[in-house]
């Protein structure tokens, strides 16, 4: 019985794995878009410019306050009424990117604000402009702080990408559904699908640890074994 299940799973893996490459591609594309939006609106949230700050806050609050699923539906099914017709993959990446951007904005904002103000003060006292202080002093430190949170966001994005199956993107979950439709073996199929997601997400968390170590500040005590 078990051997039969395993043989079946092995036979379908090539098909669903092609969906995995689509999943990885749209996740990375969405994350990249999210990073751009995250930087723009994250800096906006700490800006003293009233308009910039207001627009950024509205973006972050609205996106975080509505379900990703609904955002996907709006972008794919709703935009055509405004004359914008997008193919499923583009719509999917756009929705994932806009959604991720709001969370990345908050991650970046929190990271920048976690750097003690005295770092900014000492940079300014040396005659640096605020921009120079940000580029050479604050951001390099903030990036190290936010790496775990950002990789976590990418992991969430990979899992959330399963939702774009509903608009027809032939990613991992959708391909699994297709196989279930003719094989009537949902347990094996969806377990295999879940296992593939797990491999990706687990690898990402290992990458995170590697990056943290590589970029760590010498002498900075991290709470190991606490």
């Amino acid at each position: 019985m078990i051997i039969d299940s395993l043989k079946f799973i092995l036979s379908i893996v090539p098909f669903i794995a092609q969906g995995l490459t689509v999943t990885i591609q749209i996740s990375l594309a969405g994350f990249a878009l999210g990073m751009i939006l995250g930087i723009i609106f994250g800096l906006g949230r700490i800006s003293s410019n009233i308009v910039y700050h207001a627009i950024s806050s509205i973006y972050v609050e609205v996106i975080r306050g509505t379900p990703l699923f609904v955002q996907i539906l709006i972008i794919y099914f709703g935009l055509p009424s405004l004359g914008i017709n997008l193919d499923p993959i583009t719509a999917g990446i756009l929705a994932l990117g806009i959604n991720s951007g709001a969370y990345q904005a908050e991650i970046l904002r929190a990271g920048i604000q976690s750097i003690p103000i005295e770092q900014l003060n000492s940079a300014l006292s040396l005659g640096m402009t605020r921009t120079q202080a940000m580029i050479y002093v604050i951001l390099p430190q903030a990036i190290r702080v936010v790496i775990p949170a950002l990789v976590n966001e990418l992991v969430i994005l990979v899992k959330d990408s399963a939702l774009v199956s509903v608009i027809g993107v032939a990613e991992l979950t959708r391909r699994g559904e297709y196989i279930v439709a003719w094989s009537w073996r949902p347990f094996e199929v969806y377990s295999a699908v879940a296992a593939l997601y797990f491999i990706v997400c687990y690898t990402l968390s290992k990458v995170s640890k590697y990056l943290e170590e590589k970029l760590s500040i010498p002498g900075y005590m991290t709470r190991k074994g606490m």
Binding site: E118, Q119, N121, S122, A123, L124, S125, L126, G127, M128, T129, Q132, Y136, V137, P140, Q141, R144, I217, P218, G219, Y220, M221
Partner: protein, 261 residues
């Protein structure tokens, strides 16, 4: 009248008021510092000493009053504060070195980006100041790998590399373990004697103040209570609040020295 004052004074502060929210921390400070003078500011915690130093280079925004540094009005919105800060060096209680850069890079970064020096010129200058503070062997270490005393000396080197006309020191030894205080004070004494530098130092180290200060200003609850020549203030203070503060400070010092004896 103001022009005459400006010509003689490195720093001129007129009726300075600073607030944090609804709390008024500085309640009308007026004082001046001559070129080349070393002034020590004494006062209990919460008196506004740090706020005063920070407001001189607008790290804190004054609510009312005027500040002049080297003839230019700092509090004038038309003044380019970035240019003024390039003439002023500041050393903080918590060193505030950039932890992600080596000690050498901490010093060369502002030289390259602010003073627009070339990499070679910046490094040459950096080694000069590292020699001055005795940290040549730590140039390639990172700040968090150093002791507190070494970090503060590195911070002093970084500030001195910019060749400031005015050096502000906000309790430079207050965060240090007692054994490490002397190495920093030694460096500061050397700087005070050798250089024609105007210095304003907030400190609790009374012996050091006596060695280095031309004048002492005592601040309490946001106002200047008494000021005068260093020896007068330390040995024959006129105001009872000054006497009370000095007595308390000296008693604490005595306790520490009897324990460590």
């Amino acid at each position: 009248m103001v022009e005459k004052l400006l010509r003689n004074h490195m720093v001129l502060v007129e009726d300075l008021h600073v607030r944090y929210g609804s709390l008024e921390v500085l309640k009308g400070i007026t004082f001046s510092v001559n070129y080349g003078e070393k002034v020590v500011i004494l006062g209990p915690s919460g008196s506004g000493k740090s706020t005063l130093l920070k407001s001189l280079i607008l790290l804190v925004k004054p609510w009312k009053g005027k500040i002049f540094i080297d003839g230019e009005e700092v509090t004038d919105p038309k003044t380019n504060i970035v240019k003024i800060r390039q003439k002023v060096g500041m050393v903080f209680q918590n060193y505030n070195l950039f932890p992600h850069l080596t000690v050498l890079r901490n010093i060369t970064l502002p030289l390259e980006k602010v003073k627009k020096m070339s990499k070679e010129e910046a490094e040459k200058k950096a080694w000069e100041v590292l020699k001055l503070v005795g940290l040549e062997d730590k140039a390639h270490s990172y700040p968090l790998q150093l002791s507190g005393g070494q970090q503060q000396r590195a911070a002093i080197a970084r500030a001195m590399a910019m060749e400031p006309k005015l050096l502000l020191l906000d309790e430079p030894t207050s965060a240090l373990d007692p054994e490490l205080v002397e190495e920093v004070l030694e460096v500061l004494r050397t700087i005070a004697i050798k250089k024609q530098l105007t210095m304003i130092i907030v400190t609790h180290e009374l012996d050091f103040a006596e060695d280095v200060a031309d004048r002492i200003v005592f601040i309490d609850h946001g106002v200047i209570v008494e000021e005068g020549r260093a020896s007068e203030i330390l040995h024959t203070p006129k105001n009872p609040r000054t006497r009370q503060f000095l007595r308390r400070l000296l008693r604490r010092k005595e306790l520490v020295s009897t324990v460590t004896a």
